[in-house]
């Protein structure tokens, strides 16, 4: 089972969404929600690790009109635990009934289908019935295949053990992950969906300049507004700063670039003249932002 981009999900799909950190999760969830709202679907966000207000704030910060979508009831944000284990017990049959009720309600309300993403970390708690989770996921794959509904179940790679993650990947119809240009213990370079651009996290030096160059070349080819998210990048060297400078110099007349980074990266890029370029906006964030 190969990876699928969140933007390629369609009705009938049941995806296992895995991610390496919260920023990456929020980016993929934002793309999932954005596409659902655009398509006129009813969107249900089941959240747990991220609080309801924090999720609304994060999605709003990524440019989504969350407040109006909630007001018009096209978007609903609610706790995962209430959906999957409302009485503290996971009952697959009752959960399927809830799925069908939401799908039917979305149709009755005139939405173009149902789209649900759920944080599955409730299943890390010692809840009765959770042993049946993977059997439930397999059945849900078969059920959704015949419905006007799309689901993306969020499994945090930092929290679930590898056996559960392998079982989750197997029981879903597809696996959604970030489009990754480089991934090792030190550095992760991903395509960012919302806002469009590239996210670089960890530490980077000249030895990883090739995947960075590929990622930046692709975003220059695809995006009118390039968001370069370096907020989780702890270290960059001169070669990296130079490649970012070259990318900015390669922006066409209609393109703009935003660089969000830590203070040290800000100082390095500013010293090379990035701040002086009219098409570039730079923002420094604190270490713990």
């Amino acid at each position: 089972m190969s990876g699928t981009s969140v933007e390629d999900l369609k009705p009938g799909d049941h995806a296992c969404l895995t991610f390496s950190d919260n920023d990456e999760r929020l980016d993929i969830v934002a793309a999932f929600v954005r596409d659902g709202l655009r398509l006129g679907q009813k969107v249900l966000c089941l959240t747990e690790s991220v609080s309801h207000p924090a999720l609304a704030d994060e999605l709003t910060a990524r440019g989504l009109a969350i407040e109006s979508a909630v007001r018009s009831r096209q978007l609903q944000i609610s706790p995962s635990g209430l959906f999957f284990a409302p009485q503290g017990t996971f009952n697959p049959a009752a959960t399927f009934d809830r799925w069908q009720a939401h799908i039917d309600q979305a149709t009755r309300d005139g939405h173009g289908g149902l789209r649900v993403t759920g944080d599955m970390c409730w299943a890390l708690r010692p809840i009765t019935g959770v042993a049946d989770l993977m059997e439930y996921e397999s059945r849900l794959t078969r059920m959704l295949a015949e419905q006007n509904a799309t689901a993306a179940c969020q499994y945090d790679r930092q929290c679930f053990d590898t056996v559960t993650l392998a079982a989750a990947a197997e029981s879903h119809g597809m696996n959604v992950t970030a489009v990754t240009y480089h991934d090792d213990a030190l550095l992760r370079i991903c395509r960012q969906h919302v806002p469009t651009g590239v996210r670089v996290a960890g530490e980077i030096d000249y030895r990883a300049i090739e995947p960075l160059t590929t990622a930046l070349t692709e975003t220059l080819a695809l995006d009118d507004h390039v968001d370069l998210n370096l907020t989780q990048l702890r270290f960059m060297d001169t070669t990296t700063a130079g490649v970012i400078m070259q990318t900015a110099l390669g922006l066409t007349a209609r393109q703009r670039m935003t660089v969000r980074c830590t203070r040290i990266s800000f100082d390095l890029l500013a010293a090379l003249g990035l701040k002086e370029l009219a098409k570039v906006t730079m923002t420094a964030v604190r270490h713990d932002d």
Partner: protein, 151 residues
């Protein structure tokens, strides 16, 4: 020699450093050591109370000087970190061909130009930088950068 962060050596500081400077870290490096060099410098600078933003600057400076040695200065060298009351000093030496005359990082490179970018950035982030040669040897260079505690 590597030391535990927080431990101090009584070795006398070399010429050009304040008399109260104590040796924090001394290590030999080659390309494979560049990542661990960063974390070692950060740990030692943090242990002597350097502010987080200045630790980041010091790590960049140490790494860039070491990388210059790895890529242009013969492939391997030695890094020493000294702490004094007002600043932390990073001294990187090698036995390579030496830094060419006129390359001193004093002039901002043209946007997009790769010339002397590393030394320019080191000079911008550090509060002082001195480029010298190894005493009584015909080869190699010694670069000392200072990161002030107060900036």
């Amino acid at each position: 020699m590597t030391t535990e962060p927080g431990s101090r050596s009584r070795q006398a500081p070399p010429d050009g450093l304040p008399a109260d400077a104590v040796l924090l870290l001394e290590l030999l490096f080659a390309e494979a050591d560049l990542v661990s060099l960063r974390s070692a410098v950060a740990a030692h600078a943090d242990a002597v109370g350097l502010r987080a933003e200045r630790v980041d600057a010091l790590v960049f400076v140490a790494y860039e000087l070491a990388t210059n040695v790895v890529r242009h200065g013969g492939g391997s060298g030695e890094l020493a970190l000294w702490a004094a009351a007002g600043a932390v000093y990073c001294r990187v030496s090698d036995e390579g061909p030496g830094i060419p005359p006129g390359v001193d990082g004093r002039k901002q490179p043209e946007p997009g130009s790769a010339d002397s970018r590393g030394l320019w950035l080191v000079r911008t982030l550090a509060d002082g930088m001195h480029i010298g040669t190894r005493i009584s040897e015909s080869r190699g260079s010694v670069v000392t950068a200072m990161i002030s505690r107060d900036r």
